[in-house]
């Protein structure tokens, strides 16, 4: 069973040389944290490297992923949509079908098991859209761990369904009122908690960002997405796809989806950032379009900031993409021209959200709708012998009320 996750021969491959021993993906990444956290992070890295090679751990995780989370997820041929667009064949990787409604549970399960191994009884996490929060809350309920979730007050408003779900699962949800009251502030507050309670507590960071070793750990726990996709498309089509598309907040669903294809140059990899109301200061979260190199929350990467180095406000209709920094591994592969980036505006994402529901009967998360928005336009440009796969990172149940409000239908 462990072969599903990390066959040990594979973790020796060239792609695993990043991050290097200093936690770097080329110039990106690293460990920019207060001294109090350095040793706990090094301990976390050590514990993680041990379980990565431990078949018992991998078997336990694989079983949970199967029986609790519902893996493998389907690779679904969107036939009607394909016909309507008249271009490339469009497939969806159905991470939205996972328990708790998004890919986030892959990482939450992995890290919670790791925390147990490390003897930590208290879990904290940040959440934007609430998907990482509900995944973590559920897993903590299942494993009998104490759970505190930090969430920006604005995100609590626009993702209120998920707040209630977390509380049902026994988590304490703490609202964060500072700054713009979204994901970045929730991470600040989670780090403050961690710095205070680091001996008893594990921080389950929810995206492929922050200080080393998080970008590596989160990526690895999501690599199952791409591994499954690869096997599934080979089985269905007898060949690799021409393009993969995923939305990019911090970058966890995207890197997990792309990783198994990094060494197949014929497969184009496209990450889609939040274009918000347009690429102007404070109106979007497209770090590769408006950002520059900097350091935020432990990590050197592209960041939306002013000349002084103060972090800019961001905006996206989707809480999960509304964040000023991008995961370091994405910056690394962008430099190498291996992962390409685009952005989708609020308006296009909302349009895609509707189209997907109308044509396929699948309501995607607003985050995933950004990837889907790009895919709709892209598929039309490609000929019918091409294959395009979109990662449906989550389902849109959490978003229907906010989408209706924004579209003026409530």
């Amino acid at each position: 069973m462990s072969s599903l996750l990390f066959p040990s021969s594979e973790t020796d491959g060239p792609r695993f040389q990043h991050p290097d021993v200093t936690g770097r993906f080329g110039p990106y990444g690293g460990m920019f944290v207060p001294e109090t956290l350095v040793t706990p992070l090094l301990d976390l890295e050590k514990a993680y490297r041990e379980v990565r090679e431990d078949p018992a751990f991998q078997d336990e995780l694989a079983l949970l992923l199967k029986e609790y989370a519902g893996r493998p997820t389907e690779l679904y041929f969107a036939e009607r949509l394909t016909k309507q667009l008249g271009g490339a064949k469009v497939y969806f990787k159905r991470e939205d079908l996972l328990h708790t409604g998004a890919h986030k549970i892959n990482n939450a399960l992995g890290q919670a098991l790791l925390a147990k191994r490390m003897g930590k009884k208290r879990i904290i996490a940040e959440t934007g859209a609430g998907q990482h929060g509900i995944a973590t809350a559920s897993v903590c309920a299942k494993l009998g761990l104490e759970c505190v979730i930090y969430m920006g007050a604005e995100d609590m408003r626009r993702q209120s369904l998920n707040v209630y779900r977390m509380r049902l699962c026994g988590a304490e949800v703490k609202g964060v009122e500072s700054g713009q009251k979204t994901l970045k502030e929730a991470i600040n507050e989670a780090m403050r908690d961690w710095v205070t309670n680091v001996r008893s507590t594990h921080y389950i960071l929810g995206s492929a960002l922050g200080s080393h070793p998080y970008p590596m750990i989160v990526r690895d726990f999501h690599r199952v997405i791409g591994r499954e996709t690869r096997a599934q498309i080979l089985e269905k089509e007898g060949r690799l796809p021409d393009e993969l598309v995923a939305c990019v907040g911090g970058g966890s669903n995207a890197i997990g989806f792309f990783f198994a294809f990094l060494d197949d140059p014929q497969v184009r990899l496209t990450g889609v950032e939040a274009g918000g109301r347009g690429i102007e200061k404070g109106e979007h979260a497209a770090r590769f379009e408006g950002g520059k190199l900097g350091i935020l929350q432990g990590c050197k990467t592209y960041i939306l900031q002013n000349e002084e180095g103060q972090i800019d406000l961001t905006h996206s209709v989707s809480a999960g993409l509304d964040y000023a920094a991008v995961g370091p591994e994405h910056a690394f592969y962008r430099d190498q021209n291996r992962i390409h980036f685009a952005s989708a505006s609020d308006e296009k994402a909302l349009h895609a959200f509707r189209e997907c529901a109308r044509v396929e009967g699948i309501i995607p998360a607003l985050e995933s709708s950004h990837g889907f928005a790009y895919a709709i336009e892209r598929a039309k440009e490609l000929s019918s012998d091409k294959i395009l796969i979109v990662n449906m990172s989550g389902r849109g149940d959490k978003d229907v009320q906010e989408a209706a409000r924004v579209m003026g239908e409530l």
């Binding site: 001294e35 205070t196 960041i303 180095g309």
Partner: protein, 265 residues
Amino acid sequence: MTQRIQDTFTHSRTTGEPCFIAYLCAGDPDFDTSLELCRILVEEGVGLLELGIPFSDPLADGLTNQLAAQRALANGMTADRSFQLVREIRKFAPDLPIIFYTYYNLVFARGEKEYVRLAAEAGLDGLLTLDLPPEEADSLVAACQEQDLANVFIVAPTTPPERYALIGKKASGFIYYVSREGVTGERKDLPTNIAESVQNIRQAIDLPVAVGFGISTRPQFEQVGQVADGVVVGSALVNCIARNEGQPEKMKEALRAKARELLGK
């Protein structure tokens, strides 16, 4: 200049009084008041001034310092104005060691070399870059050495003795021992093992050791002062500003009273 830092600790060793290290947020609540507040600290005999440079995302700071940073930023504090503040303080305090307590992105955004050059020119004596552990600090340390600026590093209760040598290699000026896990802010009680920790650090690193995080009263100040070379007081001073918002005269009065209390005057 590292010399000013050395001198202040030498002085406190000869007098037997610990060095009073006072933290305020630069530009809190605004530039002019901030300058006057620094003047009061100098008049009351502060041994070393630590100026927090306000950042939008101060993840190692408690609420008191978060709000201070917000006030300063709202009133137009910038890197250049923080250098200007140092220049102004220098006019009435030529021998006072002054360091910046800052988040790394603010230094990085200007370019390390340029930032350090401007800081040294303004008369700054050192940098404590909170989210830059020694592993990441090579280029900044080199830039600082070129301009004779000290690099103060933190030792935490979670720092194992094996790291002391690495920290000692990069550090200059003094070592800042953070007496407990957590963010900045006032505390009622002190951890009990400070003396032992300071002793261990002194054995491994040949620099003065200051202790901070949470100290706010004279008894705490005395207790820590018995075992450390310097005592850092932050939030308790910043609260003198927060509690008197909009009333600069009262801020000054409160700050003067607090400084006197801490020094047992």
